[in-house]
């Protein structure tokens, strides 16, 4: 992030459109837009932005095969996009989950209170969500389609996880 900001600092602030090629102008504009976005993100960080950033960082850390030392599969762009989509549906009453890349190329969201109160959602680029967890004596396990909203079943489990003492 700082690298982008610093590199942008080296662009002259006066009008340079007369001396740059069209490609350079487009690049300059892109960097300018990115710079604005980053500034805005830094000053107005809400939990959802932080979650998106966390997902991005985990994605970047597992971009290449064997990222984990066990020959782990790289996280695909489809999986990354699904994780962002799922994150955007998460209700505000639940705190941000831990985000982990897994050896089989999945991205996992985990809420963990203790051994008997935890819940995880996993995406793997095939438009499905796998859920697993433990709520007291109940063992939760299943999967559902990743649509354009958070499935009610998952939302209900998250409510229970928050409410369970």
């Amino acid at each position: 992030m700082n690298t982008v900001l610093n590199s942008y600092k080296h662009f002259p602030s006066n009008d340079i459109s007369g001396v740059l090629s069209q490609d350079a102008l487009i690049l300059s504009k892109t960097i300018e837009d990115l710079n604005d976005y980053l500034r805005e993100s830094i000053t107005q960080r809400n939990p959802k932005d932080m979650l998106f950033e966390k997902i991005y960082n985990v994605y970047i850390s597992a971009l290449y095969k064997n990222w984990d030392g066990y020959g782990g599969r790289a996280i695909t762009q489809d999986t990354y996009k699904e994780a962002l989509k799922l994150a955007s549906f998460l209700p505000s009453f639940i705190q941000n989950p831990d985000i982990d890349a897994e050896s089989d190329g999945c991205l996992a969201f985990e809420w963990y209170k203790d051994r008997n109160n935890n819940f995880s959602l996993t995406v793997y680029g095939q438009q499905k969500i796998i859920f697993n967890g433990f709520l007291g004596a109940d063992v939760l396990s299943g999967n559902c389609l990743l649509l354009n909203y958070l499935p009610e079943e998952i939302e209900n489990y998250l409510i229970r996880l928050v409410e369970d003492k």
Binding site: D68, Y70, S103, C106, Y112, R115, I130, N132
Partner: protein, 125 residues
């Protein structure tokens, strides 16, 4: 090579600190996800603690990683999931759990069951 018995203790060496929960020093399910349908484990029943850690350090070194911990679990958890674990040497004591290639749902459940049973061990310095 003797087949793996239900009562045996197996271990998965943890090379990535992201697989360890900081809240209660337990292991995450990500530690038990397969690579190309196999989960690499070691048979440690009857081995001394020193030997078990030595094997772990060798594995980590071969992969240019640092050994963070190990997660010990019962072989019966594997068999209880209708899965198999087979000896696969060399290296000595090595075994593999057969997972399902591309069956993410099944593998996630197996990983959850293993991480729930596993006892995370840290090397005493």
């Amino acid at each position: 090579m003797e087949s793996v018995a239900h009562g045996e203790i197996l271990t998965r060496y943890i090379l990535d600190s992201n697989n360890i929960r900081t809240s209660d020093s337990s292991v995450k399910k990500g530690a038990f996800k397969p690579n190309e349908g196999e989960i690499s484990v070691y048979r440690i029943s009857g081995l001394t603690d020193e030997t078990i850690w030595k094997i772990g350090h060798e594995i980590a070194s071969n992969r240019n990683k640092t050994l963070k911990a190990r997660a010990d679990f019962k072989a019966s958890i594997v068999f209880g999931n209708n899965t198999f674990v087979f000896p696969k040497e060399p290296p000595k004591h090595h075994a593999i759990i057969i997972a399902c290639i591309e069956n993410y749902i099944y593998n996630d459940k197996l990983a959850i069951d293993l991480d729930r049973d596993a006892k995370l061990q840290f090397e005493k310095k």
